[in-house]
Amino acid sequence: MTDGGAAGPWEADVLRALRDLAAVVGPALAPPGHHERLQSLVDAARDAFASQACSIALLDPDEQTLTFTVAAGVGATSTVGLRVPVSVGVAGWVVSSGQALEITDVTQDPRWAADVAEQTGYLPRSILAAPLETEHTLIGVVEVLDRDASRPGAERDLLMLSLLAQQAALSVESARLFTDSGRMLLDAIATAGGTELESLSSAMDDVAADRSSPVDPDLAELGSLLARLAAAGLAERRLAVRLVADVLDYADGRATP
């Protein structure tokens, strides 16, 4: 494509081939070992705290629900896949307030353990929980049930759990960035390979407009703009880079007035 406009005949063939490939590969896209990394985190935490169980729940995109994704110890099998609202329980409180929490005797108010007891049938006595979040995103919560609080060094458990939570949060965030970027590109390629569409730019526009697409519409629109920018002049591209960098600096609170 010489001017960002209609694709030539052989280019259309390449796009269609890429479309077919993308349609197959796209949905399976995820960085290798991500789930295993989270599983090993909860396995390690369960052991380090000498606890009955440890689990991580991730916040759904609707921000109304937490889904338990990995678990170790008592009731692990029943815990994975469990969904709880953010408006109740320890997990909900921790992700809503961003505060780590320790309840030494949850049996005085069992609703705090509702997320666990509901389906695993296991009502813990103590819960230690910390939020998973990064500078920009709320991700979820890690819970440790019935840890041995009498072992040496246990007074630092909240700190240790928060360090583990940070690791998990970074792992989830990087996996999502990988997945989102990759899917956006593949989705656009798959769309561009269709017989109706002629350019990558308009393909990105379509992805952005498609509300049922799993791709973030803002990222897709950005992709469309980048595709158009590729056909623009050097000065326009440099200006665009400067503007986007300034926006990010401002968002990070580092903007100079």
Partner: protein
């Protein structure tokens, strides 16, 4: 003589400047002077949290409430006045502790949790500004934000509160991450220490956490009329809030820095300094 005045000097012009009340006390300050016989009556306390269950026997009613809602699409916040529930029990726990030191203070619930999660910081700032704009004498913030992008906003709001005369009492996070506005000098920052006497607290000469108050294995009011035992900096914070409310009911009109001066002087680890001469 020059006719030029630098910025702000016009406020100090004779005939323009009002007088201010000096701290109405003799040294050394005593607890009897500060809050002996006081009940918190007439002091407006905002609990900025998950809501407050006014029906709990330890709370015995709230004077008013406002809930902050966040629009999912625009991120804009709106205030919904009127009664609301405590979603988790945390706000009720804080209100119950405040009542111990200031049984007759007026508690206002400012619910900033339970709204859209990623609008949390905006809800927090809106709730804080409501407290300042509505003449709260003291606000209990058992929450904080750790986001670098929120530093400037929270700093500005904390200073607004300070100059408006609303004392902000803030818990630092339970884990050692940044806590805004808790770490700022314009607020009273609080962390937990052992003990259960609400009048027993310490001043830390090595800030940013300035006050230590009971927050380990504390019995706190909870939803459903219950009482549970919990640990956290967020339970130490209302201990100090209650003392501030008690102090202000006996000595209304103290500025936030006067309040901090009094609390500093009456801390359990404060020692008398011999006067010279």
């Amino acid at each position: 003589m020059t006719g030029v005045l630098p910025a702000w000097s016009w406020q100090f012009a004779r005939g323009h400047l009002p007088s201010v009340a000096a701290l109405p006390a003799e040294l050394p300050l005593t607890r009897e002077w500060a809050w002996g016989g006081a009940t918190g009556a007439g002091v407006k306390v905002a609990v900025i949290d998950s809501g407050v269950d006014g029906a709990h026997p330890a709370i015995r009613g709230v004077a008013g409430g406002v809930a902050v809602e966040v629009d999912a699409r625009t991120g804009r916040t709106t205030l919904v006045e009127g009664p609301h529930a405590d979603l988790y029990g945390h706000g009720t726990a804080c209100a119950g502790i405040i009542r111990r030191a200031a049984p007759e203070c007026e508690i206002y619930s400012v619910r900033v949790l339970g709204a859209r999660l990623s609008g949390r910081a905006a809800a927090f700032v809106t709730g804080l500004r409501w407290a300042v704009d509505n003449g709260m004498h003291v606000a209990n913030l058992s929450l904080s934000s750790g986001r670098a992008s929120q530093f400037a906003t929270f700093h500005r709001v904390a200073d607004e509160a300070y100059f408006a005369g609303t004392v902000l009492v803030c818990a630092v996070n339970n884990i050692p991450v940044p806590s805004y506005p808790s770490e700022f000098a314009a607020v009273l920052s609080v962390a937990a220490r052992a003990g259960d006497d609400p009048f027993d607290y310490d001043y830390n000469p090595d800030p940013p956490v300035e006050f230590g108050a009971p927050g380990v294995d504390v019995d706190v009011a909870w939803t459903g009329g219950r009482t549970i035992r919990a640990t956290g900096n967020s339970f130490a914070c209302p201990h100090v809030t209650g003392l501030v409310a008690r102090l202000l009911s006996k000595h209304p009109g103290l500025t936030p820095f006067q309040v901090k001066t009094v609390l500093h002087a009456l801390a359990s680890n404060a020692r008398a300094v011999p006067t010279p001469g």
